[in-house]
Amino acid sequence: MFNRIPYLLLLLGCLPVVAAQMAGEYQVKAAMVFNIAKFTEWPSGVRETLKIAVIGKGPFSGALEGLQGKLIRNRSIKVCRVESPSEVKGCQILVVTRSAESLMGAIALESRTHSVLTISDIAGFAKSGGCVGFIEADGQMRFEVNLSALQRARIQMSSQLLKLAKIVREDR
C-alpha cells in the first residue's frame, strides 16, 4: 500500500503544485486556490459540486480552468466564469482577477450574503474586504487572510491554514 501511494501522489495531488512551479505564477496560484479549498468549510456545506466562479479576464482564469473536474472531499470542482458579482449565488469560491478590481464593493457584499470565499491576487485584497489575498514574500507565494471577512461570510478556515497565513485587518 505504502509502496504505491507515492506514485499515486505523483500522478494526482502533487501534479498541480509541481506543475505550478514549472508552469509559472498562475499555475501556482490556481493550485493554492485548490489547496485552500481543502481547508475551508462553508456554512451550508458543499453539495455535489464545489463551484469556483472566476470574475474578470486574464491568465489567472485560464489557469483555474485546469481545476475543472478535480475532487475535493469527493466533490468535483466546477469552474465557471461570471460577469457580475450578483451571479455568484450558489458558488463557494469567487476568484477575482486583477481586471475585476473595480467591483470590490459588490464582491464583498455578495460574499457576505452568499457565504462565498473570495480569493484574489490583487494587492491588498484582504485588507480591502476580501477573504484571501495572495502575496509574494521572500520569493515564495504566500497568502493573507481577513478573519473579519471570513466571519461575515460565516466561512470557517482550518487553523492549520491560518497558521500558515498572514492575518490582516481591514483598513477603515
Partner: protein, 703 residues
C-alpha cells in the same frame, strides 16, 4: 516424560522424591508466572510506547498537513519542535510524499538513526526502501531493539501527502524490564529457597509415617517379634495403612501363638504319653538310641529296665479303666523317684514302663536299681480311697553284654520280664540266652496253638479224685495236654497262658467241656454212671460272661446230666466280677453242677468272700499238701482250711497227694477227698478206664 521420571526417581528415597516433586512444582509454577508477568510487562511497555508514539505521530500528521501542502517547512519544524518535552523521543521526521526529509526534530542522542544515514542525493528508491525498513523493523514487538519507530502517513483528502517518522527510545522500557527480570529472579531464588525449606519440612508429613512404618516393618522382620506395633499419627490413608499393618501383625501374632501351641501340643502328643506325661515309645527309642551311641563312644555300660505290672488286667477289669489309669499315673510318679536326672522313664503302652540308666559302672549297680524299682511297689497304692497292693516284674538288659542296639536291648529286656512273670512275678531278672530260647519256644507254641485245636492235637488226660471215707472214685478231673507233633506232650502250664493271651482259651475251654462231658457219658455207658467229670474254667471265661451258656451247650450236646459235671475255677476268677460270678455259679448250681475252688490258699484275697458263693468244695493247693507233714505252718493252714470249710458246709479236696503219711494226716484232719499220684497220674481215657476198674472196690491205699 512420566516413565522417564519413574525410571530416574524410582530408587531414590521417598523423602528426596517428595522434596524433588514439591520443589519442581514450585519452581515450574514460579518460573511460568514470572515469565508470564515479564512478557506481559514487556508487551505493555512496548504497547504504551507504541501507542504514545502513534498518538504523537497522529498529532504531528494532523498539524503538518497544511505545512506540507504549502511547502512551509518552517511551520512544520515548529510543529515538530513541540515534541521536545518528551524524554523518550529520539527524533521526529516529516517526510514529503517523495520520502525526502521535509522537517525534523532530533533530541540529543548517540543512537544512529536510519534516516540520518541517507545521503542528500539519495534516490527516491533508496529513501523508500529505508522507510520500509523502518516499518518492518518495528513489526515484531518483542524483538530486542534500541528504539521504537512509528511511521504514519500524512493524508489530506484521501491523498497521502507525506509521512511522519517518530523514533522513541526504549531505554526506559529496557531498564524496567531488566529490573523486572532481576526482581523475578530474586523472587524465584527466594521462593526456591522457601520451597526447599518448606518441602524438607512438609515432605515429612507424608514420608515420616511411611518411614516409621518401614522401620517397624524392618525391626519386625529382623527380630521376628510380631508383638511390635506401629503407632499411627493420623487417620488418613497412611493411618489406614498403619491399621492394616497392625491388624496383619496381630493376625500373624495370633496365628503364631496358635501355631506354637499346636506345635507344642503335637510335640507333646508325638513324644509324650498323655496319661502319665512320661516320654512315649517314640521319644524313648530316640533317647535310647542316642544313649547307646554315647555309651558306644565312651565305652560305658547302659542298663535298660522293662517293667510290667502284675495282674494289671485284673485291676482294670474289676475296678474299671479309670482306676487302672489312676494306678498307672501313680506308678509313673513313683518310678520317676527311682532314677537319676540323666535317666529316662517312659511308658511304652498299656502297663509297660521302660527305664534306661546311663553310665552303669557294674552289673550289680543295675541290679540295685532293679531292686529299687521292684521295691517301689512295696507300699500299697491308694486308688479311690482303697489301698491296693500291686507288684511288678522287671526285666533287665545291659549294654553291651545283652544287646548292642536299642531294639535288641528292649526286646531282650521284654523277654527277661516275661521270664520273671513265668516264675512267680514281683521280682527282677537280667536277661540270659536261655530266656531267649524259651521266649522263642513261646512264639513257636503261640503260632502252633490254633492249628493244634483244628488238628486235634489237644487231648484230655484224666485224674481221679477218691473219697477218703469210702475209698471210691467220686469224680475225674479232665486235664488238657497238647500232643505236639514235634515237641511231644506239652503240659498246660506252658501253653494255657499263651492261649489266654491270644484268646484261644475260649474255643479250647469249649472243646474241653464238650470232650469231658462226652467222655463222662461214655463211662456212664460202660458202667460208671455216678462218676462226675471236673472241668477247669478259666478266669478269662468268666470275664466273657458266657460260662453258663457254654456249660448248657456242652450238656445239651452230650446229654450228660448236670449232676455229673463239676466246674473248677480259681480263686482269682471269683474276684473279678462279683455279681456275674454269683449269678453264674447259682445258675450252674441250680442246674445241678458241682462247684469247686481250685488251688485254694494261693490267692491273696480274704476268706470273707467265700460264703457269698455257692461253692461245694475247696481244693487245697498241692504246695500245702506237700509240706503239711514237714512244716507246722502248712499243717496249720491245711487244718484251718478244712475247719473253715466244714463250718461253711463245704467239702475239702487235697490235691498232689503222694504219700500214705499225707493220706493218714488228711484223714485225721477230716478232709473229704484226695487226688494225686498216690492214686493215679492223669491218664488218657482208655488207661483211666483200667484205673477205674481197679478202684471199683475201693482204694487199697486207704485200707
Amino acid at each position: 516424560m512420566e516413565s522417564l521420571f519413574h525410571e530416574k526417581l524410582k530408587d531414590i528415597p521417598i523423602r528426596r522424591k517428595m522434596m524433588f516433586l514439591i520443589m519442581l512444582t514450585c519452581i515450574i509454577t514460579i518460573a511460568a508466572s514470572s515469565l508470564f508477568y515479564v512478557a506481559r510487562e514487556v508487551y505493555r511497555v512496548n504497547m504504551e510506547q507504541q501507542s504514545l508514539s502513534e498518538t504523537m505521530g497522529g498529532i504531528i500528521a494532523k498539524n503538518t498537513e497544511s505545512a506540507l501542502i504549502f511547502k512551509d517547512s518552517k511551520s512544520a519544524s515548529e510543529t515538530l519542535s513541540s515534541l521536545a518535552g518528551h524524554k523518550d523521543l529520539l527524533a521526529a521526521y516529516l517526510l514529503d510524499d517523495r520520502y525526502a526529509i521535509f522537517a525534523k526534530y532530533q533530541a540529543k542522542s548517540s543512537v544512529r538513526l536510519p534516516l540520518e544515514g541517507l545521503s542528500l542525493d539519495a534516490s527516491l528508491e533508496e529513501r523508500r526502501h529505508t522507510v520500509n525498513q523502518i516499518i518492518s523493523n518495528n513489526s515484531f514487538i518483542f524483538k530486542l531493539r534500541k528504539y521504537l519507530s512509528v511511521v504514519q502517513p500524512v493524508s489530506l483528502d484521501h491523498q497521502v501527502i507525506g509521512y511522519v517518522v517518530i523514533h522513541s527510545d526504549l531505554k526506559e522500557a529496557r531498564n524496567s524490564l531488566f529490573w523486572m527480570l532481576a526482581a523475578a529472579l530474586l523472587v524465584m531464588a527466594g521462593s526456591t529457597l522457601a520451597a526447599y525449606v518448606l518441602s524438607s519440612r512438609l515432605q515429612s508429613l507424608i514420608s515420616r509415617p511411611i518411614l516409621d512404618l518401614v522401620d517397624t516393618m524392618k525391626s519386625v522382620s529382623d527380630t521376628k517379634d510380631f508383638r511390635l506395633r506401629a503407632s499411627k499419627r493420623g487417620c488418613d490413608e497412611i493411618g489406614l495403612l498403619y491399621d492394616g499393618f497392625n491388624e496383619m501383625l496381630s493376625e500373624i501374632e495370633e496365628r503364631n501363638q496358635i501355631l506354637h501351641k499346636r506345635q507344642m501340643h503335637l510335640q507333646q502328643l508325638a513324644h509324650f504319653d498323655t496319661l502319665t506325661r512320661l516320654p512315649n515309645r517314640t521319644l524313648f527309642y530316640d533317647r535310647l538310641n542316642q544313649a547307646v551311641r554315647t555309651a558306644e563312644r565312651k565305652n560305658e555300660m547302659l542298663a535298660i529296665f522293662f517293667i510290667d505290672l502284675d495282674h494289671f488286667k485284673d485291676i482294670n477289669d474289676t475296678r474299671g479303666h479309670r482306676v487302672g489309669d489312676l494306678l498307672l499315673k501313680s506308678v509313673a510318679k513313683r518310678l520317676v523317684t527311682v532314677i537319676r536326672e540323666s535317666d529316662t522313664v517312659a511308658r511304652l503302652g498299656g502297663d509297660e514302663f521302660t527305664i534306661f540308666a546311663q553310665n552303669i559302672l557294674h552289673t550289680e549297680n543295675a541290679h540295685i536299681v532293679a531292686k529299687k524299682i521292684v521295691d517301689v511297689f512295696e507300699l500299697p497304692f491308694d486308688l479311690e480311697g482303697k489301698k491296693s497292693f500291686v507288684t511288678a516284674s522287671v526285666g533287665v538288659t545291659i549294654y553291651p553284654s545283652d544287646g548292642l542296639s536299642a531294639d535288641e536291648l528292649l526286646k531282650n529286656a521284654d523277654i527277661a520280664m516275661y521270664s520273671v512273670k513265668d516264675s512267680g512275678k514281683n521280682s527282677f531278672r537280667q536277661y540270659n540266652q536261655e530266656m531267649n530260647n524259651r521266649a522263642n519256644e513261646r512264639v513257636v507254641l503261640q503260632n502252633g496253638l490254633r492249628e493244634a485245636l483244628q488238628n486235634n492235637e489237644l487231648v484230655l488226660y484224666y485224674q481221679p479224685k477218691v473219697d477218703l471215707i469210702s475209698g471210691k472214685v467220686s469224680s475225674v478231673e479232665a486235664l488238657i495236654r497238647w500232643n505236639h507233633p514235634e515237641k511231644g506232650l506239652i503240659p498246660p502250664g506252658r501253653f494255657i497262658p499263651i492261649a489266654e493271651e491270644s484268646g484261644l482259651i475260649i474255643p479250647i475251654t469249649d472243646w474241653v467241656l464238650q470232650e469231658a462231658c462226652r467222655q463222662a457219658m461214655e463211662w456212664s455207658k460202660v458202667g460208671y454212671p455216678d462218676i462226675r467229670v471236673a472241668a477247669n474254667i478259666s478266669a478269662y471265661h468268666f470275664k466273657r460272661q458266657t460260662v453258663v451258656e457254654t456249660v448248657e451247650e456242652a450238656l445239651r450236646a452230650t446229654g450228660l446230666p448236670a449232676r455229673q459235671l463239676e466246674i473248677e475255677l480259681t480263686e482269682s476268677s471269683l474276684m473279678q466280677n462279683d455279681d456275674y460270678i454269683i449269678d453264674a455259679l447259682n445258675s450252674l448250681k441250680r442246674m445241678g453242677a458241682t462247684i469247686t475252688i481250685d488251688d485254694f490258699g494261693t490267692g491273696y484275697s480274704s476268706l470273707s468272700y467265700l460264703h457269698r458263693f455257692p461253692v461245694d468244695s475247696l481244693k487245697i493247693d498241692r504246695s500245702f499238701v506237700w509240706n503239711m507233714t514237714k512244716s507246722e505252718q502248712d499243717f496249720a493252714l491245711v487244718t484251718a482250711i478244712i475247719a473253715m470249710a466244714k463250718s461253711l458246709k463245704m467239702n475239702t479236696v487235697a490235691e498232689g497227694v503222694e504219700t500214705k503219711e499225707q493220706v493218714r494226716c488228711l484223714m485225721e484232719l477230716g478232709c473229704d477227698e484226695m487226688q494225686g499220684y498216690l492214686i493215679s497220674k492223669p491218664k488218657p481215657p482208655e488207661e483211666l478206664l483200667k484205673v477205674l476198674e481197679s478202684l471199683k472196690n475201693g482204694c487199697p491205699e486207704l485200707m
